[in-house]
């Protein structure tokens, strides 16, 4: 059934019978749909499977559901983009997707599961060897286990086993919204506080039917774009560092902090904590702050431009970036990649354009088509320019009026989908209420959930020594995926 994102819909109306559900899901995905979310929701002793499908070009979202008691037919063999979703369904509900080629745990949170212990793919043959890395890595970075099947330097296959960051956030939304819900959303992935907080607020607002005032929308836009600016700038610096080009690495390390400090100027916290609240924004900007922010924006942007331009002019950098870790457009589409990683492979998806929300109007997206590290870096640079333009526009013409509207009770027996373009890509929150108007189920899909497999593909056929560079070019979230 077609629904609008960011507005509530009657959850009962999307019910189908199980066979029809699977058939419909397959035909919609075959028609070019992309799975936004696919999960199992407990209902008595059975489970309701719910799938949200997005048609990017038509800005269309459809939702289907069906009650299942026994095993189901896996759709992964035809639609690889579902592989992690179906593994998650199996792990969370016990419903077994029959015929899934890769059925193994993803978060190791069931009784008896031991993190990292699963059936790994192995390649056999003379001189084939296996390299295992993690969960504790060399840098100050989140934990995860990576297994490479190699022949000499060449990587045949990389398997990424995560779950170490699983702290059980998702299910704590159930029964809410309560005093802790917002902070849970803000810490789903700490570097995406604005993105996830907005997605959460969007879902709650849709369910309560409140209209967020334009000034609050613009302020939210400022926060989200500052988050993107900080992270993209930091990533470009880190990419430079990984190919031992220290000027840009050093400059961008500092400049990332300048964007974070601008965020702190707005709400007191460098990651944007406490800024979002259902119904609007917690902090307003007066003229003095607006002026200060504009001044810093211009100053910082000039330095970013200077630091980043060095990358494209330096042969040794371009040589390492070009043709490294290539993900083809077909692979990106097949795996349902999102965000800069998808746009770098030529996929025309940006939530701000395809599923506009809040203050975004007539947004034009940035793509850069070759799918290699260079493209993933260059797309970030294009997006930095776009974000600066947006923030400047909002700061110069901040709509007048209140920054908050009262957010009332949630509509009972309803659901809402909220899509936000975080800096890593599309964030999807799917909220379902029960008869009492409390959250009965809450599903979070971080962009990293889609994109980790993209990293594995980038390594295929490449050299193992390119792993750090490829990894940085995706810079995915472990905690956002592990929840």
């Amino acid at each position: 059934m077609k629904i609008d994102h960011l507005s509530s819909f009657n959850f009962g109306a999307v019910d189908l019978d199980p066979a029809l559900f699977l058939e419909t899901a397959a035909s919609r995905l075959a028609a070019g749909g992309r799975a936004l979310a696919y999960f199992a929701l407990p209902e008595g002793t059975a489970h309701r499977l719910v799938m949200a499908v997005g048609f990017d070009r038509e800005s269309r979202v459809e939702v289907y559901s069906a009650l299942f008691t026994g095993p189901l037919r896996a759709l992964t063999p035809s639609f690889p983009q579902l592989h992690l979703f179906e593994r998650e369904i199996w792990e969370q509900s016990g419903l077994k997707p029959e015929g899934h080629p890769w059925l193994k745990p993803i978060r190791f949170n069931t009784p008896g599961a031991v993190p990292g212990v699963a059936d790994y793919f192995t390649v056999h043959g003379s001189q084939v060897h296996e390299v295992a890395v993690g969960p504790v890595h060399a840098g100050v970075i989140e934990p995860g286990h990576f297994r490479f099947q190699c022949h000499g330097e060449r990587v045949f296959h990389l398997e990424i086993m995560l779950g170490y960051q699983h702290r059980g956030v998702e299910k704590r939304f159930i029964g809410g919204p309560d005093k802790r819900s917002l902070h849970y959303a803000e810490t789903l992935a700490g570097d995406t506080t604005a993105g996830h907080a907005w997605a959460y607020c969007g879902a709650v607002e849709a369910l309560s039917g409140v209209n967020v005032p334009p000034r609050a929308q613009a302020l939210r836009g400022v926060m989200l774009e500052l988050e993107r600016l900080a992270n993209h700038t930091g990533d470009l610096g880190a990419l430079a560092g990984d190919v031992a080009y220290l000027p840009t690495a050093s400059f961008c390390g500092r400049l990332r902090g300048d964007f974070l400090n601008m965020t702190a100027l707005v709400c007191g916290n460098r990651f944007g904590r406490s800024m979002f609240k259902p119904g609007g924004a917690a902090f307003d900007l007066d003229d003095a702050l607006l002026k200060e922010l504009l001044l810093r924006l211009e100053r910082t942007y000039r330095d970013v431009e200077n630091a980043v331009s060095l990358l494209w002019d330096t042969g040794s950098v371009c040589d390492r970036f070009e043709s490294t870790g290539t993900v083809s457009k077909e692979a990106a589409e097949g795996l349902g990649l999102v965000g800069p990683a998808a746009r770098a492979s030529g996929v025309g998806l940006d939530t701000r354009r395809n599923f506009p929300y809040g203050p975004y109007e007539n947004f034009t997206l940035s793509v850069s088509g070759s799918g290699d590290v260079y493209s993933r870096a260059y797309v970030r640079w294009l997006e930095i320019q776009k974000s600066v333009e947006l923030v400047r526009g909002w700061l110069e013409n901040l709509p007048a009026g209140p920054v908050e509207a009262a957010c009332g009770q949630l509509r009972p027996d309803s659901a809402a989908i909220s899509l936000i373009e975080g800096w890593r890509g599309q964030i999807c929150h799917f909220a379902v209420t029960g008869p009492d108007g409390k959250l009965r189920h809450y599903k979070v899909v971080d962009p990293s959930f889609h994109n980790w497999q993209g990293l594995a593909m980038a390594l295929r056929g490449g050299e193992i020594s390119d792993f750090p560079l490829c990894n940085k070019s995706f810079n995915l979230s472990y905690c956002g995926r592990d929840l």
Partner: protein, 245 residues
Amino acid sequence: MIKALIARFRQGYRTMEFPSADIKLPARYLGLPKLKSLKLEAAAAACAYGAISAGANPALDLGRCVFCGACAQAAPEAVEFTQDYRLCASARQNLMITESDFKRAETLGADLRRIFGRSFRLRQVSAGGCAACEADCNVLQTIGWDLGRFGVQFVASPRHADGILVTGPVTRNMELALRKTYFAVSSPKVVIACGACAISGGPYAGHEECVGIPEDIPVDLYIPGCPPHPLTILDAILRLIGRIP
């Protein structure tokens, strides 16, 4: 090359002085809280993390606080946040803020200070959490902060480290890895719990998926915050090794 040199010149010298009286934090930053009154009922009711206890032993537990500011908003007559970023403590109970002064961490004993005071290597262990603490540790290694000038460095191997800095609520899935890392560091060694999660579970306190830092890994330094500001982390580490009196 010439372009890189010009850029280097343009970008200027950016390493901040530390410690320094000129450090300016944004006006809305929430630092060390102060109790203005011991009538904490309203503030305690506003706190979603059980950080404030009212009644017989009124106190605010910095180890649980995520610095959301809800208490000060609900009860401005009782709780106020200052701009003081120096928040570390060397004993868990010193994180309990009451009316009397906050007892900041003191340095390591003379012996340890002699060993670690001029060269201190840490292995960071990320164990759950949201990775914001990790980001603010990473920032200390950028040119703006230049952690290395104090002789402090994050290293890749626990075998090269003088201690570990733990972030996150220690998920069940990371408990073993944390233990192995800790026991791979040779003695004498130091343990730092960085952020509300590592200290008390933070926003994830009470989740059965999280176990906290096990008791056989004794913590020497607590750095509160969600996440702690890089200034807070830097101040805490330097205080511990006796670089700040």
